[in-house]
Each structure stands twice: as C-alpha cells, then as structure tokens.
Amino acid sequence: MRIRINGENREIPSAINLLHLLEKELKLEPLRVAVELNRLIVSREDYKKTIVNENDELEIVHFVGGG
C-alpha cells in the first residue's frame, strides 16, 4: 500500500504497526524520532499499537547526535 512519509510517496506492506515501520522499513531508532501521523503526534508508548493505513501521512523527525 502507499503512504506518504515527509511529503514523499512510499510503498510499504499493509497492516504493519508504526514500530515495525520505523525499525524494519525505515531502519530508524524509535528513541531518536518524533512522529506525527496525519498531523497528530503519536506517543512513543503507542508506536506498537498504531496501525499504519493506506494514504496515511507521516511526518518523521529523526535526530542525529551532536551539539
């Protein structure tokens, strides 16, 4: 199915949760991101129970170290 991540289309397997999307599809460390799903922030503790649906819009901010 198709979703949008940071403004770009992306094909992902259907019926996956947000944690799986972050770790397995995007290879991102969940503790280093913030995620808005359809413009609403998703709490970290809800990543696993949040199912990503067709046409969802995700804005993912991923941080790298240094300051």
Binding site: E29, R32, I41, R44, V61, F63, V64, G65, G66, G67
Partner: protein
C-alpha cells in the same frame, strides 16, 4: 518654530526641526566621536527627522549607568530591543549549541533566558562552547550566567541545574515564548520534541540536528517540520568516530537557531 521629538542616548528630547546631527553633537555631547542614528552610523551632516533614535558615543568611555542600556543597544534594529525585552526564551542544554544561542540572544537583549543543564564545564567543551578555561569544573548554567551578564547586564538569567525530563519540560518551559533544543544526544533531542508536542503543543520550538564535522556550511538550513517547530542542521552529519564537533559549524547552527528565535519573537516567518 517647528519642534520634533527625538531620543538622544535614550532620553526623550524636543528639538527644533531642520537641525543637522552636528548641532545635536555640539549641544549634547561635544566629545562624541561615534554617532549612530536608527541603528546605523551617520556623519555630522545628517539631517535629523521626527522620531530619530540618536546615540552619541565617545569611544573608550564607559557610559553612565543610566545611559548604558541605550548605548549597548545602539546598533540594534530600532524597535527590536523593546520587543525582545518582553520575551522569555527557554534553552535546553548549554553546550555547543546552547551556550552560543544564549550568547546571541543575551546580546540581542531578550528579557529572560531560562537555562537548563546538569553538566559541568570540562576541557573538551572549550573547542566550541562559549566558556573559559578558568570556568572548568563549574556547573555550565552558572558559568553561562556569569558570561551572559558580563555581555548584557539587563538580561534576566534563570538557571536550572537539572536533567530535563518530560514532566520538567512542561513545568520549566511553560512560561517561555520559545524553546531552543540544544542537546548533544539524539535520544534527548527526540525526548524534548515528543514532550513539547504532548505537554506544550502550541509552543514554538527551534531544534537542531546534523552539524558535526566540517561539511559545506550552506548544507545547514532551517526548515519547518511541524506546526511551530523548526529544525536547523543538515539532518545527516552525526557526531561519530572520526567526525568531531567543531566551532565553525556548531556556532553556525547556533546562530541560525538564535535567528529563528529572533524572528519568532517578532512574529515573522521563520522560513520562506
């Protein structure tokens, strides 16, 4: 005779219309040798207009306490200092980013800075952070307060010697107009963003990610990521073995964060 209102070294004055700056200098400060009008140096033949903000400085002379604030702010864009004086900015972490953001905002005359950091100044900080060798061992928030007040004694500095946790994000930054994320560790950066979206959802925030090494400077940009949330950096340059953190890029990012804050506080768009 036509009278106009001007400010001379912060005092409201009424003068006759049509005067040149040279006449003002002769009357108010004959020994001045630097003349700033509306934030810009002028020559004595400058024609004075209604509302002009005139600052007359004798180079090398320490101003009296009643003139100091005006003279420190003489090169600011007119009106900005008054606006910033009412503002409160929270700074999460006073390391490479935060110490330099704090320096910029204190020099601009932001009314109050709320500094949060648990750490002490140590030698490896000094290649990019605003501290001095003699401050090694001092808590950063206290060392920073000392430096900031030396640059601008009119800024209120509130310090929290603490590890920032999600509940503290709300209690400490609730009264801030803008929050600056200036941490080093990516998990802490993400914690602050998540906590702000949860507890302070409309609070403007200026974050940073991707400023390590000596990559091309112009790759560092400011972009809007969420409503009221901005991110400075190139998003990829991560501190890692063989990629250090160095003053040019770190202070560049800090300057861009401070400029974003300056624009937010004036109600200006942060990105084009």
């Amino acid at each position: 005779m036509n009278i106009i209102n001007v400010k001379i070294n912060e005092k409201n004055c009424q003068i006759a219309n049509g005067k040149k700056l040279a006449e003002i200098i002769a009357e108010f400060k004959p020994d001045a040798n630097l003349f700033i009008v509306n934030g810009f140096p002028q020559t004595p033949d400058y024609q004075i207009y209604e509302g002009d903000l005139i600052v007359l400085i004798k180079k090398g002379e320490v101003p009296s306490s009643d003139e100091m604030a005006a003279l420190l702010a003489a090169r600011q864009t007119p009106g900005v200092t008054e606006q910033l004086r009412q503002s409160v900015v929270g700074i999460a972490g006073v390391g490479g980013l935060g110490s330099n953001v704090a320096m910029s905002l204190a020099r601009c005359g932001v009314g109050e800075l709320i500094l949060v950091d648990y750490d002490v100044v140590e030698p490896s900080n000094l290649n990019r952070q605003a501290y001095f060798v003699e401050q090694i061992g001092q808590p950063k928030v206290l060392a920073m307060r000392d430096i900031l007040l030396k640059c601008n004694p009119y800024v209120k500095i509130t310090v929290h010697l603490a590890v920032l946790s999600p509940p503290l994000v709300e209690t400490i930054f609730n009264r801030a107009d803008v929050v600056v994320e200036a941490f080093d560790v990516p998990e802490t950066k993400a914690m602050l963003l998540n906590s702000m979206r949860k507890f302070l959802p409309n609070k403007p925030g200026v974050f940073a990610s991707g400023l390590a090494g000596d990559g091309v400077a112009s790759l560092i940009t400011t972009r809007k990521v969420y409503h009221n949330i901005y991110l400075v950096g190139d998003s990829v340059s991560e501190a890692a073995p063989n990629i250090g953190l160095m003053a040019p890029r770190v202070t560049l990012a800090a300057g861009m964060q401070a400029n974003a804050v300056l624009r937010i506080l004036q109600g200006k768009d942060v990105v084009e």
